[in-house]
């Protein structure tokens, strides 16, 4: 892969949000999401807590508790999730500090990188959870028509290899 675009944190978070998005208004437990998506349970728990802290979701403790989508799916951008888990999009330090790079060779390269990073940031900023949910619905619809295979993910083990990873 060209470069590490999304870490597992972000990947799992978005998949969890997709599950929550298909159950809007309902509380879904970490256990359920973990099993449905094949995400390691403890890892997922931390991720959900983070989403809570950032106001994307709310939770209810105790039996029949779980996590619920708090914001409108159209108001949740993939970039927001990336920023939670992989840090704020920031321009190169050099520009931020308004200094001229000590090293010119680095500088010309960085200038290009910054330009591309801005493109990437903008692109991820345009993908909303709402859009992904629509895509998911469409995908499920066609798959069902085609009788290709079933919807739910089968494996609940934390190390299943049926799923592609993003590296």
């Amino acid at each position: 892969m060209l470069m590490k675009v999304l870490t597992k944190n972000t990947d799992y978070a978005i998949r969890a949000l997709l599950v929550l998005g298909t159950h809007e208004g309902e509380y879904v437990s970490a256990r359920q999401i973990s099993q449905q998506q094949g995400i390691p349970y403890q890892f997922l728990r931390r991720i959900l807590q983070e989403l809570n802290k950032n106001g994307l979701t709310t939770s209810r403790e105790g039996a029949h508790g779980g996590v619920r989508l708090e914001k409108n799916p159209d108001a949740i951008r993939v970039r927001d999730v990336i920023e939670i888990f992989q840090g704020k999009v920031e321009l190169s330090e050099c520009m931020f500090r308004k200094q001229i790079c000590a090293n010119r060779a680095s500088c010309v390269l960085r200038h290009e990188i910054m330009r591309i990073e801005e493109i990437v940031s903008r692109e991820f900023g345009q993908i909303t959870l709402g859009k992904l949910l629509t895509d998911l619905t469409k995908l499920n619809a066609t798959a069902t028509m085609d009788h290709t295979d079933e919807f739910e993910i089968i494996n609940s083990g934390s190390h299943e290899k049926t799923d592609c990873d993003h590296r």
Copy 2:
């Protein structure tokens, strides 16, 4: 930073190529490049060997030896260098295997990621060493006119923090 775009390998490699590009036809030693750019010597040596193996440069052993740019700067793309050190740009495994993702949630997300990756790949494919060399020349010209500061990088230590890194 949003995501790790370039590793040190790639960063150092491009900076080394920029040095070689400003000395076209001449052999420049790893020692010289290391000192001028503040790149750890041994690390740089391995990088230069890799550039050799990939035909971007050639080397001459012995005293007064070094590394020389072999290809035309306009024929060297930043993407080429990235691919040498960070691997081939590849589409997501799912697409490559022409399989439908077992996990639909991953699938819709991956589809977007692939789209963005292709943009990034295209962008890095359009940046040539020749372009960077032109930028560098311009930068040096204006800096000289402005009397802002000197051209050469001063620090030769391997851990200097004056230079911005790309993370």
